[in-house]
C-alpha cells in the first residue's frame, strides 16, 4: 500500500492544497491575532491563495492528463478550464466582497466568511477534477454546505437567515433525490467510477433488455442537477436565496455553483450515460427532457423577472433564463463543439453576472437597499457605474458589441448546426425580446429616474478594480471574441470524457 502512495503524483494537487493552506492560514490568524486588530485585510490572504492556486493551475500547462486513485482525482483539459473559471470568478468576487460597510455587524466573522468562500471554491475544484461519484458528491456538498452558511452569515438580518433556511431545505431534498437516484445505478453497476458505470450500464441494458432502473435513477438525479443549475421548475429557491444573501455571495452562487452543477451534469451524462444516449429511443427521450427544461427555464425566468422590484431578484430570474439559454445546446449532445460554446458562454456569463452583482453591491451599500429604486438616477450620481451597469445589462440581454451577444450567437449556431430544435431557438429569440424589457427598465431608471441624493456613490479600490476588469472582458470578448474562442477551440475537450488509457492510446 505504501508503495502505491509513493508512486502517486501528489503534486497534481498543488492548486487545491494552496487553497487549503489559505484556509488554515486564515483560521490561525483569526485565532492568534487579538480581537482589537481589524480583520478587514484578511480578504487579501484569501485573494493571495486564490491567485496562488491560479498560478499553480496555469503552471500545469501544457497539460498531461493524469489520474490519482482510480479517478477520484483526475486532471484533464475539461477540469483545467473549469478550475480556471472557478478561480477567476472567486478572485473577482473576493475583490468585490472586500468592500464592506463601516462597522458591519458581521465584521467579527470576517475571517470565517473568507474561509467559507475558499472552502466552497475547494469543493467546486474537487468536483471539477474527478470522475468518481463519491468525490463529485462530496465536492458538491462541500460547495453547498459552505454556501448555506455564506447565505445566512448576516444572521441579524431576517431575510438572510430565512434565505439560508430555504436553501438548506431545498438543497437537502435535492441531495436526497440525487442519492436515492444514484443508489439504483449503484445497484446495477456496483461502482462509483463514471467510466466503469457507463460500461456496466450499457452491458446491463444489453443483457436484461430493461433500462427502467436507469431511467428512474436518472430522473431522480436530475432533480439534484437541476437544483444546482437552477433550471426551472427546480429554480424556485434561487430568487429568494439571492435576495437574502449578500451580493458577492449571490454572484458566487450564480456563477461558481451553477457552473459546477453544469460540469457535473456534463460529465455524468457524457461519460456514464453516453453509451445509452447513443441509442435512438434513449437519446431522443433525454433530448426532449433537456429541451423542455431549457424552454421552461427561458420562459419562466424571463416572464417572472418582469414583475420584480428587487434588482437581485431580477438578476436571479435572469440567471434562470441564462441557464435555459445555455441548455438549448445540450439536446445536441453528440457534438463535440458544444464545449466551446458552453465554456465561452460560461465565461461571458461569469463576467456579466459578477459585474452586475458587484454594482448592485456597491449601490445597495450606499443606498441601504437593493430595490429597483436604489438605481434611480444613478447616472447623475456616478456616471461610470451607470455606464458599466448598462454594459452588463446589455450583455445579459445579448445586445451586439457585448460579449453576451457573441455568446448567444455561438450557442445558437451550434444548436442549429447539430439539431433541428427550432422550437427551442424560437423560444430563445422570443424570450430574449421579453428580457429586453426588464433589462431596459433598470437602464431607464439609472438614466432617467430622479436620484434621492446628489452624492457620488463611493467605490473603494478593490471593487473598482474588479468592475474594471469585468468591463474590459465584456467589451473585449464582445469585439474580439477570437482571443478566447480560438483558445477554447484548441482545448482537447474529448479527453475529459474518455478513460486515461484511452487518452494514452489516442496520443500514440
Amino acid at each position: 500500500m505504501n508503495k502505491v502512495f509513493a508512486q502517486i503524483e501528489w503534486s497534481l494537487l498543488t492548486p487545491e492544497t494552496t487553497i487549503i493552506a489559505g484556509i488554515v492560514l486564515l483560521l490561525l490568524m483569526d485565532l492568534l491575532l487579538p480581537a482589537s486588530i481589524s480583520r478587514r485585510w484578511f480578504g487579501l490572504i484569501g485573494l493571495a491563495s486564490v491567485l496562488g492556486s491560479l498560478a499553480f493551475v496555469i503552471s500545469q500547462l501544457p497539460l498531461k492528463p493524469a489520474e490519482i486513485l482510480f479517478g477520484t482525482y483526475r486532471l484533464d483539459p475539461m477540469s483545467l478550464v473549469f478550475k480556471l473559471l472557478f478561480l477567476t470568478s472567486t478572485a473577482l468576487i473576493l475583490l468585490v466582497a472586500m468592500d464592506r460597510k463601516k462597522a458591519d455587524k458581521t465584521d467579527r466573522y470576517i475571517a470565517e466568511e473568507y474561509i467559507l468562500m475558499l472552502s466552497a471554491l475547494l469543493g467546486a475544484m474537487f468536483l471539477a477534477s474527478s470522475v468518481d461519484v463519491i468525490t463529485l458528491f462530496i465536492g458538491l456538498e462541500l460547495l453547498s454546505i459552505s454556501s448555506y452558511i455564506l447565505v445566512g452569515m448576516r444572521k441579524h438580518e431576517r431575510l438572510a437567515t430565512e434565505a439560508a433556511w430555504k436553501y438548506v431545505i431545498y438543497g437537502g431534498v435535492s441531495s436526497a433525490f440525487f442519492l436515492y437516484g444514484y443508489s439504483f445505478l449503484y445497484g446495477l453497476s456496483g461502482t462509483t467510477n463514471l467510466f466503469a458505470l457507463g460500461q456496466r450500464l450499457a452491458e446491463v441494458v444489453q443483457s436484461t433488455q430493461s433500462d427502467l432502473f436507469i431511467v428512474a435513477g436518472l430522473c431522480l438525479m436530475l432533480v439534484g442537477f437541476a437544483f444546482k443549475i437552477s433550471l426551472a421548475p427546480f429554480h424556485m429557491w434561487s430568487p429568494d436565496v439571492y435576495q437574502g444573501a449578500s451580493s458577492p455571495v449571490a454572484s458566487f452562487l450564480a456563477v461558481v455553483s451553477k457552473a459546477a452543477g453544469i460540469l457535473f451534469l456534463i460529465r455524468f451524462l457524457l461519460i456514464a450515460m453516453y453509451p445509452l444516449l447513443r441509442s435512438e429511443v434513449w437519446g431522443e427521450n433525454m433530448m426532449w427532457v433537456l429541451a423542455i427544461l431549457a424552454a421552461v427555464s427561458m420562459i419562466v425566468g424571463n416572464t417572472v423577472a418582469l414583475r420584480q422590484q428587487n434588482v437581485k431578484r431580477i438578476l436571479a430570474y435572469s440567471g434562470i433564463a441564462q441557464a435555459g439559454y445555455l441548455f438549448i445546446i445540450f439536446p445536441s449532445l453528440q457534438s463535440n463543439l458544444i464545449f466551446v460554446s458552453v465554456s465561452f458562454y460560461l465565461v461571458v456569463y461569469m463576467l456579466m453576472t459578477i459585474g452586475a452583482f458587484a454594482i448592485v453591491h456597491v449601490v445597495s451599500k450606499d443606498t441601504g437597499n437593493d430595490g429597483l429604486t436604489s438605481f434611480d438616477g444613478l447616472y447623475r450620481r456616478s456616471p461610470a457605474l451607470a455606464m458599466a451597469m448598462t454594459l452588463f445589462l446589455f450583455s445579459l440581454a445579448g445586445i451586439p458589441l457585448t460579449a453576451g451577444f457573441i455568446g448567444k450567437v455561438s450557442l445558437s449556431i451550434n444548436a442549429f448546426a447539430s439539431s433541428h430544435l427550432w422550437l427551442l431557438l424560437s423560444t430563445l429569440f422570443v424570450t430574449t425580446v421579453i428580457s429586453y424589457y426588464y433589462y431596459f427598465r433598470i437602464v431607464q431608471r439609472m438614466f432617467v429616474g430622479k436620484a434621492t441624493s446628489d452624492q457620488k456613490v463611493s467605490v473603494s479600490i478593490f471593487p473598482a478594480l474588479a468592475i474594471l476588469l469585468v468591463v474590459l472582458g465584456t467589451i473585449g470578448f464582445g469585439i474580439m471574441p477570437d482571443i478566447l474562442l480560438s483558445k477554447l477551440e484548441t482545448v482537447k475537450w474529448g479527453y475529459g470524457l474518455i478513460p486515461l488509457e484511452g487518452i494514452q492510446q489516442l496520443k500514440n
Binding site: 430555504k166 433525490f177 428512474a216 430522473c219 427546480f234 424556485m236 445586445i399 451586439p400 477570437d482 474562442l485
Partner: protein
Amino acid sequence: MMFTWAWVYPLFPLIAFVLLIALRDVMKKKLAVIVSLIGIGVSFGFAVYLTWMGIFQQSVIQTTKYQWFSIAGKPLYLDFMLEPLNIVMIFLVSLVSLLVQIYSMGYMKGDARITTFYAYLSLFTSSMLGLVISANLLQIYFFWELVGLCSFLLVGFWYFKPEAKEAAKKAFIITRIGDIGLLIAIFMIFQKVGSFDLRVIQHAVDSGVLTGGALTTVAILIFVGAVGKSGQFPLHTWLPDAMEGPTPVSALIHAATMVAAGVYLVGNLFFLFEGSEVALTTVAYIGGFTALFAATIAVTQNDIKRVLAYSTVSQLGFMMLGMGVGSVYASSFHLLMHGFFKALLFLAAGAVIVALHHEQDIRKMGGLWKQSKWLSIPFLIGCLSISGIPPFSGFFSKDEILYAIQLSGKKDLLAIGLLTTFFTAFYMFRLFYLVFAKKSRGDQKVHSISRSMKVSLAVLAVFSIVGGFFSFPTTSANAETITQITKLQGHAPLWLIGSAVGASLLGILLATFLYVWRQGSADGLAKRLSWLYQVSYRKYWIDELYQMMFVSSLKAVAWFLNGFDRFVVGGIVRFVGWGTMSIGRLGSMMQNGQIQTYVLVSLIAFLILFVSLAFGRLIG
C-alpha cells in the same frame, strides 16, 4: 488607387457618439453639435469621394475583410462590400443625416437634452452606414438591431410624453416580430450553407445548394424581416405612431433611411428571391397592397405628420412592388429619390409645425403660402416630386417601377400602381392646399424659421428637382457583384408615361377642385358668372361623388383598417403582452415564499417527468 477601408464610413459618427455620450455633462451644447457635425461631415466627404470614384469613374472598389471570430471551426469575417447599391445608400444616408443634423440645430434649439439627441443621431448614422456596407448576414443583423435600437431611443426621445413612450414600445415590439423572422432565416441559411458570407451564399444559390422549398422559406422569412422594418402590411402600424418622435428623426429614420432598410435588404439579397417565384409574388402583392391601402388611408388623415407617414408606408410598398416584379434597378432608384423628396417633405412639415407653434392638425392650418415662401416652395417641390410630375425626380423613378410592372405582365399590379399614383397626388395636394392655400384659419403670427433649416430645405429641394436626371448606377454584366443591377430593357411606352402623369394630374385636379374652388364658391355664388353656376351645379354631383367615393368608402376602409390596427395588430401586441404578463404572474404567484411549496412544485415536476418517461413500463 482606391482606398479600401470601408469601415471609415461608420467610424466617424461613432467617434462622435462616443465623445458626446462620454462628455455630455461637461461639453457645451454648441460644441457638441459641432462635434457631431464634424463626425458626419467627414463621413459625407468620404461618401462624395466614393461616389465620384465608384460611380462616375466606374472604378472597381476592392474591400478587405477581417477575421472576427470562428465558430464551429468556421471563420466569421467582418466583411464589407462597396457595390453601386451600397455606394448609393452610403451617399443617401450620409447626405440626409448631415442635412438633418444641420436642420436640427434650428429645430431642437433650446431643448435641454440636445447633446443626447445629437449623440443618438450620430449613433444612428453610424449603424445605418454600417448596415449598408455589410457583406455578411450576421453583421447585417448586428447593425439591423442597432438601428432599431436607435429608432426606439429617438422615437421615445420625449419620454415624458406618454404617447411617445407608447409609440416607442410599439415600434420596438412590432419590428421585433419581423426581426425574429430575419434571424431564423439567417440561421437557416447558416445551417444549409455553413456561412454568413453573402458571396458564399450567392454561390450556394447559384450552384444549387440552397434551392427549392428551403430557398422559398428563407426568402419569405427575410421578407418578414423587411416587412417589419419597412412598415409593410400587416406590420405597418408602428410607423405612423413613430411620428411622436421629433420631426428631424421622422425625416431621417422614418422616411429616408431606416425604413428603407427593408427594401435595401430585399434588393441586396435579391439573388435569394430570384430563385423563388413564390417569394417574388409574395413580395409584389404585399408591396402592392400596402402601397394602395396606405395611400387611401393617407387621404383621411388630419395630422400633417401622419399623412406623410402613411405616404411613406405607401411609397415603401411601391418599392417592394418594384422588387417583387423583379427590378432592383427601378426600386433602388425610387428608394434614392424617395429619400430626397420625403426628407424634404418632412423637414418642411417640421418647419410648418414650428412656424405654427406646434400645431399639427391640418384643418387648423392654411394660408401659409403668402406668409412664408421658404416653406411653401420646398413643400410644393416635394409634392410635385412625389406625385410624379415631370421633370421632378419622382417622375423618373416612379415611371421605371411602372414600366417594370408592365414588363412583368401583371395587369392587376399595374392597375394598383396607377391607382396609387392617383391617390398619392390627391392626398399630397389635399395636404398642400389645406396648409398653404387660402386664408389662415388660426390667428397666431407665424414664427420665422432659422437659417440652418433653410439650408437643409434648399439642398434637398435641389436634389428633388434634379435627382431624376442622374440615372441610377448599374453593374456591368461581367462584374462579380452580389447585387446585379441592370437597367430595364428599352423605354417605357408613351401611353404608360401618359397614363401615369395623367393619373397624377387627375389627382391634383380633384384636390384643387375640392379644396380650392369649391370652398370659395360657397359664399359669393350669386355674384359669379354663369359658368360658375354651372360649376356649382356640377359641384353638386361631384360632392355626391366625393361623398360616395372618398368620404364614405374611404372612411369605411379607414374604419376597417383602424379596426384591423386596433383589434388584430393591437390585439397581437396586447396578447403578447398579456400572455407574457400572465405567465409571469402565475410564476410569481407560485413563488409564495413557502419553501414547502417550492419543494412541492419540484416534486410535481419530477413526477411529470418520471411518469411520462417510465410509468407505462412500470405498470406493464
